[in-house]
Amino acid sequence: MNVIEVQGLHKSYADTKAVDGIDLTIAHGEIFALLGPNGAGKTTTVEILEGFRKADSGSISVLGFDPSSRGVQSRVWRNRIGIVLQSTADAGDLTVVETLSHFAKYYSAARDVDEVIASVGLDEKRSALIRTLSGGQRRRLDVGLGIIGSPELLFLDEPTTGFDPEARRAFWSLIESLRKGGTTILLTTHYLDEAEALADRVAVIARGKILEVSTPAQLGGRASAKARVQWKAGGVIQEEMTDNPTEVVRKLAAQFPGEVPELQVLRPSLEDIYLSMIGEK
C-alpha cells in the first residue's frame, strides 16, 4: 500500500514555478529522501504534503487523505502523522519533559514520554528549560515532538542541520529504530551521506521538477559507472577510465617492480552524481 501518492503537482508563487509537475509514490515502511539545492521546490512540495500549503493543481493522497481538506477528518489524519519542521525557536520557558508531556495529550495513542526522551538522547536534559538547550539538543527535541504521537508517517525537513558528527550518527540510529517499527519517513536533506545511510530511495529535485528517483546506490547510473584508476608514472598523474578496474590494477602491478606509485581506484560518490545531475559540475 502506498502511503504517499502524488501526480502532476504544480505550485507557483507570483511568477515563479516552485513546483512544476511532480509525481511521487512512497510505499509503506519506506524511507524516502528528497535531495535538491535551495529553492528547488523541496520545502514547497513537503509543505503541500503536510497540509500547510495548497497546491495549484495535481492529485495528492497522503495516507489516503487529501492534506488540504479541513474539518474533523483532518484532525484524525494529523493524529497519524508527525512533522519536524525546518526550524522552530520557541521562547522556551518550558522544560523538555513538560513540552513532550503536553504534546503527548494531543494524540490518541501517544508514545511513552520517558521512552521518547531516551530515544532522542535528552535524558540528562529532561528537566532543563528549552531555552538552555544547545541547537543540536533543540533539534532532537523537535524530533521527539515529531514522533510523540507514534506517527505512521513522519516528515523530517533537514533534521540534522547543525549537528556535530556524533549527534548525526545518534540521530541516524534513531531513524533506523523507527524504520524497524514500520514508520514511513519522508526526509529532506542537504547531506548526501545522510541520504545514502538512511534512504531506501532518493529523488533528486531541481527547478521544481524531479530529475530521477532511484536507490542511492543506483542514482545517475552510479552502479554501472566506469571506475577511474589513477597512478603516477614519470612524475605525472596517469588515469584510465574502465569497467574492469581489477584488470587494470593487475596490469599495473606487473609493470612496476614494487608499489604502484600513488595508486587509487575511484568511483563516483553520491555527491559527484548529484552535483552533475543538478548541473553544478
Binding site: 500547510f52 494529523r78 519542521l85 520557541d90 503536553h102 494531543y106 494524540y107 490518541s108
Partner: protein
C-alpha cells in the same frame, strides 16, 4: 474509526493549554512584573500626584482604580496577546501546533484562560494594594459585585478575542509591541483612565465611546464610585445596560474577526 473516538476533546485540550500558558507566563519575569506590578506602580504615582477629592468620598485614587482595572482588561488581553501571538508565529511555535491534531479552538481557549487568570491576579493585587496604601474603598452592595464579575468575565473575553484578531496586524514579532502599544495608550487617554472622563474634550469622548475601554472604565466606576456620582457621567447615569450591549457586540465582533484573520504562519 477508533482513532477518532479517542482523540481528546477540544475543551480538555483547551484547559491543558491554559495550564501550560499560565506556567509559561509565570516563568517570564518581565511579563509578570509588567502585568501584576505595573498597575500598582501607576496607582502609586497617580495617587501621590493627584491628592484632589472629586466629590464627597471620592478621591482621585478611588476614581483611578476603576480606570486601572478596566485598562488591565485591555493590557492582559488585547495588548499581551497582540504582541505575543505574532512572536509565536515568527518563532514557528504556531506552525508546529498547526501540524498536530489540536483544534485551533483549544489554542483560543488556552489564551482565554491565561488572560482570565492573570487578570484575576492583577485585580486582587491592585485592590489589596489600593486598600492598604491608598485608602481605596471596596463596594459593599452585592449588586455592584455582580456588575464587577460580569464586567471582568465579559471584558476579558472580548479583550482576548480582539487581541487574537489584532495579532494579524503586526508584520513581525519584534515590531508587534511598536504597533500595539500606541493604540492602547491613546485609547487609555481617550477613555478616561488617567483623567476624569468628563474633563476631556467632547470629540475625544465621542471617539472613545466607539471603543470598549471607555465602557469598561465607566462600568468599573459604577462599581467603585457611589451612585450619587452617576450624575456627573456624560449621560447622567451609569448606562449599565448600554455597557453590557456594547461589550457583547465587541465580543462577538472579536470572535468573528479572530476566526477570520488568524494565521498560523507568516506566509
Amino acid at each position: 474509526m477508533s482513532a477518532q473516538k479517542s482523540l481528546p476533546t477540544t475543551i480538555a485540550l483547551g484547559v491543558a493549554r491554559g495550564g501550560l500558558e499560565i506556567r509559561q507566563f509565570m516563568r517570564q519575569r518581565e511579563s509578570v512584573v509588567f502585568t501584576l506590578a505595573f498597575p500598582i506602580i501607576l496607582l502609586a504615582i497617580f495617587g501621590s500626584v493627584f491628592k484632589t477629592t472629586l466629590a464627597e468620598g471620592v478621591t482621585f485614587s478611588q476614581y483611578f482604580v476603576a480606570g486601572m482595572i478596566a485598562s488591565g482588561l485591555v493590557n492582559t488581553g488585547f495588548q499581551q496577546l497582540a504582541i505575543i501571538i505574532p512572536m509565536e508565529r515568527e518563532f514557528g511555535s504556531l506552525k508546529r501546533l498547526r501540524g498536530t491534531p489540536m483544534h485551533v479552538a483549544s489554542y483560543f481557549i488556552g489564551k482565554s484562560i491565561l488572560v482570565f487568570v492573570s487578570m484575576a491576579l492583577q485585580v486582587l493585587l491592585l485592590l489589596a494594594a489600593g486598600m492598604i496604601f491608598f485608602g481605596v474603598q471596596l463596594p459593599t452592595d452585592p449588586y455592584k459585585w455582580f456588575t464587577f464579575t460580569w464586567l471582568i468575565v465579559l471584558g476579558s473575553a472580548a479583550s482576548t478575542a480582539l487581541g487574537i484578531a489584532f495579532a494579524a496586524v503586526p508584520k513581525s514579532g519584534r515590531g508587534a509591541s511598536a504597533v500595539v502599544s500606541p493604540v492602547v495608550i491613546v485609547l487609555q487617554f481617550f477613555s478616561g483612565v488617567f483623567f476624569v472622563f468628563t474633563d476631556l474634550p467632547g470629540w475625544m469622548q465621542q471617539v472613545a465611546a466607539i471603543f470598549p475601554l471607555k465602557w469598561m472604565t465607566q462600568g468599573m466606576r459604577s462599581v467603585f464610585l457611589p451612585d450619587s456620582f452617576a450624575i456627573r457621567e456624560v449621560a447622567g447615569t451609569w448606562e449599565t445596560e448600554r455597557t453590557l450591549i456594547i461589550l457583547l457586540i465587541w465580543l462577538i465582533a472579536g470572535i468573528f474577526l479572530a476566526i477570520r484573520t488568524f494565521k498560523w504562519s507568516r506566509d
